[in-house]
């Protein structure tokens, strides 16, 4: 079954691209192709003008592409620092001999990253399960920043949040933009799209259905592009 056909997507540093489309339009598929989960059958991905092809998510990550899925993929029982370093924990040597996890480094990373995001909690070493939805989203984003992602992809970042927390996540996206990252985010939330996106790309049934700048379009038009009227 063909999920994507004749689509193209560009993102520039410091730019926020919203990816809209109905279910089955191919938004998740293209995201997964960019982040190394899927391999393209045809077509190409260019990074800085270089053709790239990632065979695993880790490879995509090594090239500066971080993806934050809806479930955030955080380990609830671990701290912010532990989550940031999950899978690549830094090691040091206790008494110069015994290899141990460098928890000090992880804690420092958590502190500096969360400061960058203006994220304040009394206990930075608490397990992330103790945080609210918006805070956990911030942790996931923090993880992406720490590893110097140049392209941050987010899948429905505000979907499960209440309105005040949605606002906070939007402002986090604006921070990322200000830091020169490229951002693609998938969303059904027109309000969020119009608030923060620089461009809106619409997919329909595996194909490009249109691209607009928010200032030049309306919610109705986006919806029309999504369903094809």
């Amino acid at each position: 079954m063909q999920a994507l056909d004749k689509v193209s997507l560009n993102v520039y540093p410091g730019e926020v691209v919203a990816l809209a489309g109905d279910n089955g339009a191919g938004k998740s598929t293209i995201i997964k192709a960019i982040s190394g989960v899927f391999q393209l059958d045809e077509g190409e991905i260019l990074l800085d003008g270089r053709k790239v092809s990632f065979t695993s998510p880790q490879e995509a990550r090594d090239n500066g592409i971080e993806t934050i899925y809806q479930d955030l993929a955080l380990a609830d029982n671990l701290s912010i620092g532990a989550n940031i370093f999950l899978g690549r924990e830094p090691m040091t040597r206790w008494l110069g001999i015994l290899p141990v996890i460098d928890r000090a480094k992880m804690a420092q990373a958590a502190k500096s990253t969360m400061e960058q995001l203006d994220f304040h909690v009394t206990r930075l070493d608490a397990p992330v399960a103790a945080f609210s939805g918006g805070q956990r989203q911030a942790v996931a984003i923090g993880r992406a920043i720490f590893w110097n992602a140049r392209l941050v992809i987010m899948d429905e970042p505000t979907a499960a949040l209440g309105v005040p927390e949605q606002r906070k996540v939007i402002s986090l996206i604006q921070s990322l933009k200000a830091a020169g990252k490229g951002i693609i985010f998938i969303s059904h939330n027109l309000r969020d799209i119009f608030e923060v996106a620089d461009r809106i790309v619409v997919f329909r049934r595996g194909e490009n259905a249109g691209e607009r700048k928010p200032a030049e379009t309306s919610g109705d038009e986006i919806v029309r592009l999504m369903v094809g009227k």
Partner: protein, 344 residues
Amino acid sequence: MTTAALASPTSRPSLLMRVAELRAWLFLIVLVIFFETWTRIGYGTSFLFSLYNLQAIAVFAAMPLLLGLGQTFVIISAGIDLSLAFVMGLASVVAAHLTNIGATNFGMSQPVAMLFGILVGVAITIIPGLVNGWLIAYLSVPPFIGTLGMYGVSRGAAYLLAGGMTIAVDNDWYSQIGNGRAFGYIPILVIITAAACLILHYMLSQTRFGQHTYAMGASKAAANRAGINIKMLTLKIYVLSAIMGGVAGAMYTGRFSAGAPQAGEALLLDSIAAVVIGGASLFGGSGTIWGTVAGAFVIAVIQYGLVLVDVEPFWQFIAVGGVIIVSVLVDQTQRRYLGGRQAE
């Protein structure tokens, strides 16, 4: 840039959280005080300040604790290892056989024969460990079912190898390992168990392996996304658990001078109880080695203490079950108020 500062997640006192983490030890202290009072009033002797009692309790707790150490990793990873009941017996029987064979067929001296027996006995457990891990990781069999299958297979193998009997071992060195005292005071069995605790504590709290075990218990998806090889991790965890079963089985043979297929049968539930009392959730993601140590001692103190103060045996059956229920209730309450599972 301004972002609304995200509010602090906890206005709950962190003292309460520390208490929750150390729950098992508090439990133990309460129990010790309880029995201390009883023995003083009833018998005019001390419960805690008696080397005799301490030695007896420590030796009693040793083998269930050895099983509990491996079980801790498994339970944190959101699994369970039921096969330990007979993996321990399998190791016990193999160790016994090979110690005998080493002496008789290969003319090994006692210490060498003993080492030979122990080594092979422990090594053989790698097989059920691998099978468990493979069933669970590669065939996606739920841990309860997979390890229940190996429970049966190990039982059959152990009984077959033992010919339905216990295998007598006549080896003074081996008997010393199981029964001897270092400096006349500390049972060697306890020293070995303590060493195992230290090693596994290090593995769980200071290595990537341990960290990833916690992550996997919280969310396999998260661990996967982070690039952790879940399948290999699962294999390692179950092999570790089986090896601990092997160590326990080898110790059993030394202590009782006989290998018995059912050596671990009665210890399985105690090993799981120790982990749970120690603070782990059976849903995975939490638990610590020191918690399991405390849990194992809680069980040993209760069972020993009740006999010491001459409580009718039927209360002993109820007591451990009661402790587990109370532990789980406290755990549930703790989660409700303090939120989330906690790693080390």
